[in-house]
Structures are given as C-alpha cells and as structure tokens.
C-alpha cells in the first residue's frame, strides 16, 4: 500500500509510548527546497497545461490558422525551431554535467559547466527573441491570428520561467562564492538542474504543439472533446 494511504489510516487517538513514534527525520534546507521545487513544478506544469488546453480549444474555431502544415507557414520547416531547441538541450546537459563535476569535487569543471549552461540558456532566449523578430518581419504579428498570439504568448511565458531560473542560479552562485566549496553547491544545483530539465520538457511539448499540422491539432483537440 502506498504511504499516503497508510498515513490516512493511522488512528491518532490511540496513545503510543514515545519510543513507538515515527519521529520526523532531521531536515536540512535542501530537503525543504526540494519539496518546494516539486510544488513549483506542479504549479508551472498546471500553468502550461492550461495554456495548451486553451490552445487546443481555440484551434477549433474557424479563424485559427496553424503555424505549420501549409508550405508558406513558418513552422512547416522546423529547422529553426530545432536550432533553438538544441541550445536548451545543451544548457540542460551542461547543468547535469556540472552536478556530476560538483559531486566529484572538481571545482573548475563545475564552474565551467554551469557557466556553459547559463551561456546556452541566454543564447536560447536571444534565439527565441530573434525568432519573434523573424516572424513579425514575415507578417505574423501577435494579433493577426490566434495561432500567432499563442506562439508569442507561450514562448514569452516559457522564457520568463527560464529568466526566473537564471536569477535563482545567480543567487545560488553568489552564496557558493562566499562559501568557496564546490561540494556545497552539488545538492542545490541538482534542484536547479531538475528545473532546467523540466523547462526543456515543457519546451518540447510547446515545440510539438506549435509545429503540428492542422490535422494533428484537430486530432488532439478531438481527443480532448473539443
């Protein structure tokens, strides 16, 4: 039986001798942050889930023109999206490599990998901004079609989450700088990496959605009952 159910079946009105108590384990700051991160991921997950659901619902109205499918639509050729995605994949990979280095107490390599992660994240953000610019130059303005609106909105919200991640990483780096010990950063860095991987996953979903043909979107919408 899973633990929550066991917990809910306890009979607290029965008194127990103190040695039988399940004492709460000693908890450190990282464990608290880990719990908080899980909730943050849940909140961010719900946020994007709702955006995606509304995207599918909105796609079923006649004025919706998907950004992929027809040859003249910008995301029929996904090479540019893949280029941007590769930056984020590299950022995520560098972050993971940073953790492994920190666990092996290799300070310079850790700093190098984390810096690379920051670099690729910033590169991804600039690449996304440039994609905005390209689309608007092609006449795909934010309010000309709901699919365009969603593209700008989803990429902006996703980008802002990455910026939030960079701020937290910066705070962590400044704290570690003061401590001057790379092992101290390993655990909190793991939390940052989880957040990065999660945002990479979110971006892959958004990518798939934005680059889907009208037929695929219609099929997805039908599955959701729209």
């Amino acid at each position: 039986m899973i633990r929550p159910l066991q917990t809910l079946r306890q009979k607290p009105w029965l008194t127990q001798a103190s040695e039988q108590l399940n004492l709460i384990p000693e908890v450190d700051s990282v464990a608290a942050a880990r719990i908080a991160l899980r909730f943050i991921l849940a909140v961010v997950g719900v946020l994007f889930f709702l955006f995606v659901i509304t995207y599918l619902a909105r796609s079923q109205y006649p004025d919706f023109q998907s950004l992929a499918g027809a040859p003249w639509q910008p995301f029929t050729d996904t090479s540019r999206l893949w280029l941007n995605t590769s930056f984020l994949i590299l950022a995520s990979a560098a972050m993971q490599a940073g953790i492994w280095s920190a666990q092996q107490e290799r300070q310079n390599r850790t700093i190098g990998f984390v810096s690379a992660a920051v670099f690729f994240t910033v590169l991804f953000l600039f690449a996304q901004l440039q994609l905005w610019q390209q689309l608007s130059q092609l006449g795909f303005y934010i309010s000309t079609n709901p699919a365009n609106s969603y593209f700008y909105l989803l990429t902006a919200v996703h980008g802002l989450h990455l910026v939030g991640g960079l701020i937290v990483l910066g705070y962590l780096a400044s704290k570690t700088w003061a401590v001057d010990s790379v092992t101290a950063i390993a655990k909190p860095l793991q939390l940052c990496a989880t957040y990065w991987h999660f945002l990479l996953g979110v971006w892959m979903v958004l990518f798939a959605l934005l680059a889907s043909s009208p037929q695929t979107i219609n099929a997805l919408a039908a599955m959701c009952g729209f």
Binding site: L14, A17, D28, A32
Partner: protein, 583 residues
C-alpha cells in the same frame, strides 16, 4: 545544516532588533500574519461600504443621486472581488495560515521566511493596484466579479479602459503573492513538523489550511492564464476570448475568440476557490468546536478524509456555474453528478460537527457562538447549493437573487462566521489580552440574526424571479410590489449588520489596551500554539527547545485525567498507554 525552522538551538535565528526589521520588513510569521490580517480587514471594510452603497440603491431606488447605473455595477464588482480574493483568501491563508502553521506544528517559523515577507509585500502591492482603480479615469471595472468577456473590455461597461487593466494586473500580482506564501505553507507543513507531530496528529485547522493551499497552488494558475490572455485581448488586440463583433455600430478587429473558454478557465479556478476559502474555515471551526465543547472532534480520520476528498472533487465541478452558458448539454449531467457527490463528504463534516456537540460540555463562549452559528449558515447555504447543482432547477433560478443568497450564505457569511470565531478564539494568544465578552456576544447576535434577516428574504425574491445585477427593476410585470418592500427590509438589515461590525472593531482595539490580561491557555486548549512559554509567543516561538508531541490534538475530557484536557506535548503515562492498547 539543519533547517532553522526546526532547530533546537536558535542561535541561527537573529532576533530583529530595530523597529523596521521587527514590524515592517519582518520575517517573523506572526508579524507577517498580522500584516496580512490588518490589510485584509482594511480592504474588507472598503468592500463592506461598497455593499452598503449597492444595498441603498436596491432598497431605495431613485433616492440617491450619487449612485448611477455605472457606479452601481462598479460597487457590485469590486465588492465581490475584494471579498472573495483580497479579504477571505488573504485573511484565511495569509493571516491565519501564517500565524497558526508554525505554532500548531511546533516549528519556529516558516521554512522560507524571506519569501514569506515578500509574499506579504507583493499582496499589499496587489491591493494598492486594485484600489488605485478607484482613482483612474472611468473608475474601477464594473464587469461583475467574474469579468466575463466580451463585455468586460468593451465600451459601455464601466471601467472598460483602465479599470479592467488594473483589475487584471492586480489579480496577477496577487497570484504571485499567493504562490510565494503557498509554497511556504505546504513546505512548512511537510518539512518542519516537530518531533512526534505526525500528519495524522495535526489539528484539523492545519489539514484545512494545507489542503486549501494545495488547491490554491493548482487553481490560481487558471486565473492567471485567463488574466494574461484577457489582458492581451484588451491591450494588444489578440482574440483569445473576444469574438468577432460589432460594438457601438462599429465592426471591431477581433476575429472570433471564445468567451465560453474564458468561463471554463475562470470557473476552473473559481470553484476550487470556494473550497480554498471553505477548507481552512472547516478546519478552524472543528478546533473551536472541540475546544469549547470539551470533547474530541467526532470522526477525526473521516474529517481528514473529507477535507482531502472535497479538495480533489472541487476540481471536477466547475461547470455547474455554466449551465446557461451554452456549453454541451451532456456536460450538465456530468457536472450535476459530481456536484451532488461533493455534497457527501461535506455532509459528513456537518454531521461530525453536530455529533461533536452531542453530549459535549458546551461552553457558550463568543468563539463557540460563532462556530455554532456557522453550522446553521453553512447548512442552509449548502442545501440551496444542492438545489442549484441540478440543471433543471438551476435554469430558472440562474442569475436571480436566489443564487446571490445561496453563495453569500455558503461562502460569504459562513467563512466570515468562522473568521470571527477564530479571531475571538486566538485573540488572547495573539495579543495577550482578553476581549470584552459582552461586546463579543452583542456582535454575534447582531451578525447572526442580521444575516438571516438579509438572506432568507433574498432567497424568496430570487424565487420570485428578481434578477441579480440590475440597477433598478423598473416596471416588471411578474415581480410583485411586495418584492420592493422586502428589498427595503433587506437593506435596513444589511445596514444594521454593517454598523454592528463597529462593535467588533471597537472591541478588538479597546481590548488591546484595556482588556483583561489573558491567562496562559485560557480556553484549556490542547494544541501546541497554546503551549508556548510566552503569550504572545516571542520570536522563535519555543525558547531553547522545540516541543515534543506525544498525542493528537483532541484529548479532551479523557476519563481518569486530572484536567479536562491533555496538551499535545504532555507525555503519555504507562497506564494511559496500556489503556490505549486495550481499546
């Protein structure tokens, strides 16, 4: 390093030593709670005045020049939004959540005190942005608290220009504030409980606040999504929700968005919001009832299960607010069924409260009066909810005063009754003083009888078919003259209830200075917050050592015990342990 919130040694907790760090930029959960509480009460009083203004118009139409149709709609909108979000949610979770969580679970503070402080100041910013809308051209939005597009952002609706923008911005800021606070509450409950405080030993107050916070964290994103998308529709001209339409004889640029989509999003947040408000109230009222009836809460485990079940079910009932929206009729069947199912755990809770009182040693203290009052108002509000949950009954009653009366009873009056019970119950702990019992009882009877004088006739005029949101009825054949007489009576009752809140305010502020000094644990409560060394508790709450918990929070009137309550941190005697095994 062990986390400061649960460390035995408090060397790492720097006592705030200046006025600024102690009372303004404070990271102490108790001070933040009071900051949240005072701000929420202030903005709630603004909303109370707005309701008095709208009642004046309804009770005595054509008598007040300063209320025109536009300002009437603005009063309605701002009253609703402030009460639901900025008063109830903020006071129950930001106020009581902050004050009680660390104290009731035996922690020194929240696990992220700095973020907790940020949460309050962000909340204050959201309130300032909201209130600023009273002072911009066009005034605040008058779109109704549900802010339905397309009318919310179209010319013709009051505040369609700046008012709605500030409202949406304020909501977004509030959600950021709530998320920061909410992350703290759930993490603190899960990570910072003291030794022996298992989840099933937590008082129901904490279960209520914890579950409501989880609901809030998962439901507020829906409001954020709808606020962002509507803001873009308004400011940039996107068409997420705005259909292609002609306004004031002019064809607009919107290309065919879906207003119903907004309604789904709004109510995906809006219905859990009812329980975000109700669950902490359920928890607190359970603790007040048990303490003042000197009896263990009836069916503790079932109460916890019911809280969790209600929390889960609250996410699958939202479209019962949308039976008349034009959604697919099959949805009505599904959502009516889930709505009726959610009544089951809710009814279990009501039975358990009543059974807690059954053969208890009931002390009619002020908190107890409000708690019992809550059982009445909540049962009445809940039962009319069963009417409205059925599609066939909802259709004729939709958008009438029956709905207004229902939701005011169930999520207006009821949580407010609990809030008063809670304020009176924990006042001695928070301030170290007792309030005036006589004034408290006067406040109760004015409020309790007054709300019935308001809402019972309101159900009736709803059944007559009087529509809500109308500035004036005019000549409407199917509404008898007598409905207007009832409306005048409701208004007079509302004004009396509104004014009687001055008794409460006077009592609270007078007692701060002149109230009798509170004894340690004056109600004989078992939960940890009353077992602190100092009253009110000092920074760090517990002195050098954290409390050790040995039992649940409801050991009242235990046979053979010296007193009629045994605090949670009281060790278990060998005899008691043997008796426990035998049972």
């Amino acid at each position: 390093m062990q986390h400061t919130a649960i460390a035995d040694q408090i060397d790492t907790m720097h006592d705030p030593d200046t006025f600024i760090t102690k009372y303004v930029w404070s990271q102490d959960h108790k001070v933040i709670a009071i900051q949240y509480g005072l701000t929420a009460v202030f903005v709630g009083l603004v909303a109370l005045v707005l309701s008095a203004l709208m009642r004046l118009q309804l009770g005595f139409p054509d008598s007040f020049d300063f209320i025109d149709p536009n300002s009437y709609l603005q009063f309605v909108t701002m009253h609703g939004m402030i009460m639901v979000i900025y008063l109830l949610t903020a006071l129950l979770l930001g106020g009581f959540g902050n004050y009680l969580i660390p104290l009731m679970i035996g922690a020194r503070d929240m696990v992220f005190p700095y973020m907790n402080m940020l949460s309050y100041w962000t909340y204050l910013l959201s309130v300032i942005v909201l209130l600023a809308s009273f002072f911009v051209p066009g005034g605040p939005t008058g779109a109704g608290w549900t802010l339905y597009p397309p009318q919310a952002i179209l010319q013709g609706t009051p505040g369609y220009d700046w008012g709605i923008i500030l409202m949406l911005a304020s909501l977004a800021i509030f959600i950021i504030a709530f998320t920061m606070g909410g992350l703290n509450y759930v993490t603190t409950v899960l990570q910072a409980r003291t030794h022996g405080m298992t989840l099933m030993r937590m008082p129901l107050t904490i279960w209520g606040i914890f579950t409501a916070t989880v609901l809030g964290l998962l439901a507020f994103p829906a409001l954020l999504v709808s606020a962002i998308m509507m803001m873009l529709d308004k400011v940039i001209g996107t068409s997420f929700f705005m259909p292609a339409l002609v306004s004031m004889g002019e064809s607009l640029d919107y290309t065919g968005g879906s207003p119903v989509l907004f309604q789904h999003l709004f109510w995906f947040f809006g219905h859990p919001e009812v329980y975000i408000v109700a669950l902490p109230a359920f928890g607190m009222v359970s603790d007040v009832l048990a303490t003042h009836a000197r009896k263990n809460i009836f069916g503790y485990r079932m109460m916890v299960w019911a809280i969790v079940a209600i929390g889960g079910l609250s996410f699958v009932v939202w479209a019962h607010h949308m039976y008349v929206s034009g959604m697919h009729p099959a949805f009505g069947f599904f959502f009516a069924t889930t709505t009726l199912i959610i009544a089951v755990p809710t009814a279990i809770k009501v039975y358990n409260w009543v059974l807690t009182l059954w053969r208890g040693n009931i002390h009619f203290t002020v908190p107890m009066l409000f708690a019992i009052g809550f059982i009445f108002t909540f049962t009445h509000g809940g039962l009319t909810g069963l009417f409205l949950g059925n599609v066939t009954i909802d259709l004729p009653l939709s958008d009438t005063y029956f709905v207004v009366a229902h939701f005011h009873m169930v999520m207006g009056v009821s949580p407010i009754m609990v809030l008063f019970a809670a304020i009176y119950h924990w006042y001695p702990l928070i301030t170290g003083r007792m309030f005036s019992d006589t004034l408290g009882k006067a406040h109760f009877w004015f409020t309790f009888l007054g709300t019935y004088a308001i809402y019972l006739p309101m159900h009736y005029i709803g059944v007559l078919g009087v529509p809500r949101r109308y500035f004036a009825m005019g000549d409407t054949d199917f509404i008898p003259e007598s409905a207007q007489t009832l409306n005048a009576s409701i208004t007079i009752s509302a004004l009396i209830v509104g004014l009687s809140q001055l008794i409460f305010l006077y009592n609270i502020f007078w007692s701060l200075r002149y109230g009798e000094k509170a004894a340690h644990n004056p109600w004989g409560a078992t939960s940890l917050e009353w077992q602190t060394k100092d009253v009110p508790p000092h920074h760090g709450n517990w002195g050098d050592k954290l409390p050790q918990v040995y039992r649940w929070a409801y050991d009242f009137s235990v046979p053979g015990a010296k007193e009629d309550f045994i605090p949670q941190n009281h060790p278990v005697s060998p005899e008691e342990h043997t008796a426990g095994e035998a049972s």
